[in-house]
Assembly symmetry: C2
Homo-oligomer: 217 residues x 2
DNA sequence: GTCTATAGCCGGATAGAC
DNA sequence: GTCTATCCGGCTATAGAC
């Protein structure tokens, strides 16, 4: 990824300043947008945080909105790419990578705030909403595939479609992050999530076994 | 609630314009803050939506921030009051009222957006953060009391503290609302929440029965 | 491509008549 | 208490030198 360009058509190997500025700008934008919110963030503050001037921002990205869109798109694609490459690497890696992505987001204040801001902006901007919804669907599909594998390995039937279980797992995770970040007094232990997912799986399997296995009258 | 004032010290019975303006202002503020976000909302637009002028807003509330704070506080207290009065009314009412409050918020786009905005503002404003966290704790405590009652009625042991179960239930709810609102394709059925809570309870009970009941070596 | 300087606009908040 | 008119500061975006 960061190695030399194979053909060397144009030498982009060195930090040529251009890519460097772009990266610094996106990093600064992530911090400022997270801390101030989309409307609260000013282009000037982002420029100062990145160590460049406002003119540079408008030459690379056309507007404040386009800058945010580029930032958001990059993050979403990055997350998805990581989850998928874990999926290709092996069965163990997939779960580990998804968990890592989720936990990294959860542990980082900027990442959590940016995630929330992305949702808020998406809710108010039809085009972004479609893009974000599509990304969520893809992540859910990856999670559903993991559920399917785990279910097959354990030889149990959960009685409900895999995406529904995946949706519930992801929703529970995001909901818990929301509570943790707020710092509700008497906060639950860090392993609450995994214990609850375990209980959920156990309960689904038990209900499916009791209720009606497939093929019964 | 809306009846005549019992002593009639000052006749506030009629819509005296003052309370009326205040109510209209808060209602308008709720809509505009929800749709535009805190920073995106302008005092002017709120005034227009309420049918009053900007001067009126600054005479009743001191600033834009105070208006938002008043709105937020009113909503939080209103929700909590409803849940608690359901609690007093009877065991069945408590669950019904909590569900109603949650579902009303989930079904209404402005309510959902305002809820998210409240969280975001709270995360960036220490004083508000404490207030919102305290409110969340109270709601969780009510939910935990309901879990305790249901657990006792069914005669089962869940193996984990009631607040942890309550936290998980609330987190799952908020996470699902987030997904539903985004409109992720292939969206899960509306009864997903109740089925997952049921499965969670079943699983916890099963694990507690297997693992180690209280008092066993 | 990147800078500085500035245009043009809009937002929060206030003053003062009624 | 409510209005209209206005101030002032900060914001996005652009122009033009280098």
């Amino acid at each position: 990824m960061t190695g030399a360009t194979p053909g060397g058509r144009r030498r982009e190997t060195r930090d040529d300043g251009v890519a460097r500025t772009r990266a610094a700008l996106l990093a600064a934008a992530a911090d400022v947008f997270a801390e101030r919110g989309y409307d609260g963030a000013s282009v000037d503050e982002i420029a100062r945080a990145a160590g460049v001037s406002v003119g540079s921002i408008y030459s690379r990205f056309g507007s404040k909105q386009d800058l945010f869109r580029a930032l958001m798109t990059g993050h979403l694609e990055g997350d998805l790419h990581r989850v998928r490459s874990g999926m290709d690497a092996g069965p163990e890696q997939a779960l580990a990578e998804l968990e890592t992505v989720l936990l990294e987001t959860a542990r980082s204040r900027p990442a959590t705030l940016l995630d929330a801001e992305t949702w808020a902006v998406a809710m108010r901007t039809p085009a972004m909403r479609a893009a974000v919804a599509d990304h969520h669907r893809r992540v859910r599909d990856e999670a559903a595939a993991m559920v399917a594998r785990g279910r097959a390995a354990a030889g149990v039937d959960l009685g409900v479609p895999d995406d529904e279980v995946a949706t519930a797992m992801i929703a529970l995770f995001h909901g818990l992050v929301r509570e943790y970040r707020l710092g509700v007094p008497g906060e639950a232990p860090p392993d609450l999530y995994s214990r609850m997912v375990h209980a959920l799986a156990t309960g689904l399997a038990a209900l499916a076994a009791d209720g009606g296995p497939p093929g019964e009258p």
